[in-house]
């Protein structure tokens, strides 16, 4: 299946680990950055196919990360999905304006996250659900 590389930028190590397991199980290569500064360096180093970006980050929040990605020719085209606990009504529009392809609120349903990743990566959404969907209540 896919061998695309995804860069996860999140300051919460638990969330990073959780996403790592989930994405690896879906055959993605995963690399990490714990803050805004490191995210740019990691993006340069690995040229990921996609970045999953938190908004509240030390050393440069998600918005400034997107700004810096935009300003850099070799990074400007990497698609970004924002994954944040913040209020969508106050941040979705801002994130999309800053260049994000989508805004997902934490905690995000596994199925929803994976299908969004596939969509942004331009893969067919075959949805072989390795996820638990009890139906949202």
């Amino acid at each position: 299946m896919s061998n695309k590389t995804i860069l996860i930028v999140d300051d919460d190590p638990d969330v990073r680990l959780g996403l790592n397991i989930r994405l690896k199980a879906n055959h993605y290569n995963v690399v990490f950055a714990p803050d805004g500064m490191a995210s740019i360096a990691e993006a340069r180093k690995h040229s990921p196919d996609l970045i999953i970006l938190d908004l509240g980050l030390p050393a440069g929040d998600g918005f400034s990360v997107m700004e810096r990605l935009k300003a850099n020719d070799s990074l400007a085209l990497i698609p970004v999905i924002v994954l944040s606990a913040r209020d969508p009504s106050a941040n979705r529009e801002r994130a999309l304006k800053a260049g994000a392809k989508a805004f997902l609120q934490k905690p995000v349903d596994n199925a929803k996250l994976l299908s969004m990743i596939r969509k942004v990566l331009g893969e067919k959404d075959l949805t072989p659900r390795l996820v638990h969907d009890l139906g949202e209540l």
Partner: protein
């Protein structure tokens, strides 16, 4: 503005504005001010409200004395105009002896005090003025503090709710990792316990969502976007979403909704939120073997509304509680309910959502037999939307043009996020191209996966319609945001066969005819789009 220095030795004179048209009353009041307290007050007098308003707007007035019967303003109107330009200036109302009822009304509308003409004592006047100023200042402070406290509370709630989401994310991630066997095989009993955990994670998540929704309601930030929508679909989808949960509890649930009911004018996602709340409550309170029914019909009391009913055979609600349950934080004290979890915000939120969409919500119930929850939503009426542009007299040669703007994504799909944002950008642009008296942008009528359609109904002649199409095209082409999102646009306009209104035909009936023709036209357009190419 209000001068509250209490330096007794060198007090600045208070600026008193007197608005009074009766020369005798003016003279009397002037005399009162000119005696012993001459240094304390400086009186400015106007005969007319229009002059007084200008003076008030300039600022510097400490207190206003208003007669409520002026040549150019009468009754409470006088007070309202003063408060509108200078809400910070305390007002004392001057009334006649027989006008105390009016004075009481004025107090309700924010006047600090009233004085009855002819009964004002020399000594009492300065005191009344000072008291009014002081009271006004204290009220202002109290209001400020309360507003600040409310804002702090809302900010705190909002902050806490978001902070709670982060650990919840980690819990959700790892529970599902275990459940999906990504960390090794799970025994059936363990899987069962993990599923219980997951269910509780969902509950916690929805409680946090409710908490945030309530802060949004309090802050007036609730976002509702009504459109012409089939509530039938929304109800059927929501009911089928709950089939599993109901079956697991031994409850049957079904939707019984006749086809052919008119479209509602609602925000479908908000209507769904109300339905989810009512149905999940029904399931919660209905015992095994019970039944839940969802129905919809035209509201008997007012046929311009649809009434939705969710009926259960649950424990019911005591009559004295049936109003209270829609209030914030209300929870019936029924210790018999097992596994009750919730903040008691669901019905409060539902009530807000329904009321803000123009409807109402209520319940009828018999304890131990069941409850019937009802809510109403307005029926979508094209006629009432286009009515206003049809009432105006227009030049000959003018007819009805329907303009269709198609927004399509170049790569063949629109993500929901992009759709929401770009639609609102597109709507703003459209509004900018229109004349408010002659043209209407219809609410969202239909959209596919890859495109969004906007309809504009314009009262114009052929040439005017073309000019408008051109203007719209240019606006869209120039909009950077839309270009960046990779969207393409097509604007087409069509002229409907002239529909003329006979002199005797009421506007509403005429609007109905025109609306029917437009609706037909739109249906044709939409059908043509949905044929896969």
């Amino acid at each position: 503005m209000a001068n509250s220095t209490s330096d007794n030795t060198k007090r600045k004179p208070l600026q008193v504005l007197l608005v009074e048209d009766n020369a005798g009353d003016v003279r009397l009041l002037r005399e009162m001010f000119s005696t012993e307290t001459a240094d304390d007050f400086e009186l400015t007098h106007f005969l007319r409200m229009s002059d007084a308003v200008v003076h008030l707007a300039k600022g510097g007035v400490d207190i206003a004395l208003l007669d409520l019967g002026l040549p150019d303003a009468h009754g409470l109107e006088t007070l309202r105009r003063a408060r509108a330009v200078a809400p910070d200036v305390p007002v004392i109302v001057l009334t006649g002896l027989d006008d105390e009822a009016l004075a009481a009304e004025a107090m309700k509308e924010g006047a600090q005090d009233y004085l009855i003409k002819g009964q004002i004592e020399n000594r009492a006047l300065p005191r009344a003025l000072r008291h009014a100023i002081e009271r006004h200042r204290m009220q202002g402070e109290a209001n400020q503090i309360r507003t600040l406290q409310l804002r702090l509370k809302d900010e705190f709630l909002s902050h806490v709710s978001h902070e709670l989401r982060s650990p919840l994310t980690a819990i959700y991630q790892f529970v599902t990792i275990l459940l999906d066997g990504l960390a090794g095989e799970v025994q059936p009993e363990q899987a069962e316990y993990l599923r219980i955990t997951l269910r509780n994670v969902r509950q916690l998540e929805s409680m946090i969502a409710d908490l945030l929704e309530v802060t949004r309601i309090q802050e007036g930030k609730l976002n509702i976007e009504p459109q012409a929508a089939s509530l039938r679909n929304t109800i059927m989808e929501t009911v089928s979403m709950f089939e599993g949960t109901a079956a697991a509890k031994g409850i049957t649930i079904r939707a019984n909704i006749p086809a052919g009911l008119p479209l509602a004018y609602v925000d479908p996602s908000r209507a769904r939120q109300v339905l989810i709340n009512l149905i999940s409550n029904a399931i919660k309170f209905t015992p095994k073997g019970g039944e839940i029914k969802a129905q919809m019909r035209i509201f008997e009391e007012d046929p311009s509304f649809l009434a939705v009913e969710i009926a259960d055979t649950g424990c019911g609600i005591k009559p004295e509680a049936s109003k209270l349950i829609f209030e914030r934080l209300f929870q019936a004290n029924e210790p018999s309910e097992e596994g009750r979890k919730g903040l008691g915000l669901g019905l409060y939120i539902s009530n807000e959502l329904v009321v803000r969409q123009g409807g109402k919500i209520w319940v009828t119930s018999e304890p131990q037999k069941g409850s019937n929850f009802f809510f109403t939503v307005p029926i979508f009426s094209l006629a009432s939307l286009i009515g206003p542009i049809l009432t105006n007299e227009v030049k000959p040669g003018y007819g009805i043009a329907v303009l269709v703007v198609e927004m399509e994504s170049q790569d063949g799909s629109l993500s929901p996020d992009v759709r929401i944002e770009m639609s609102s950008v597109a709507r703003t642009l459209l509004q900018r191209c229109l004349l408010p008296d002659l043209d209407v942008v219809l609410p969202k009528m239909d959209s596919g996966d890859a495109q969004e359609l906007f309809f504009v109904v314009a009262r114009a002649n052929k040439q005017g319609a073309e000019v408008m199409s051109k203007r719209i095209r240019e606006q869209f082409r120039r909009c950077e945001q839309l270009q960046r999102a990779g969207l393409t646009f097509m604007v087409s306009s069509s002229f409907l066969p002239p529909i003329s209104r006979s002199a005797t035909e009421p506007v509403e009936e005429f609007a109905g005819h025109v609306a029917a023709t437009i609706q037909e036209h739109i249906n044709m357009m939409v059908e043509a789009r949905s044929v896969p190419t």
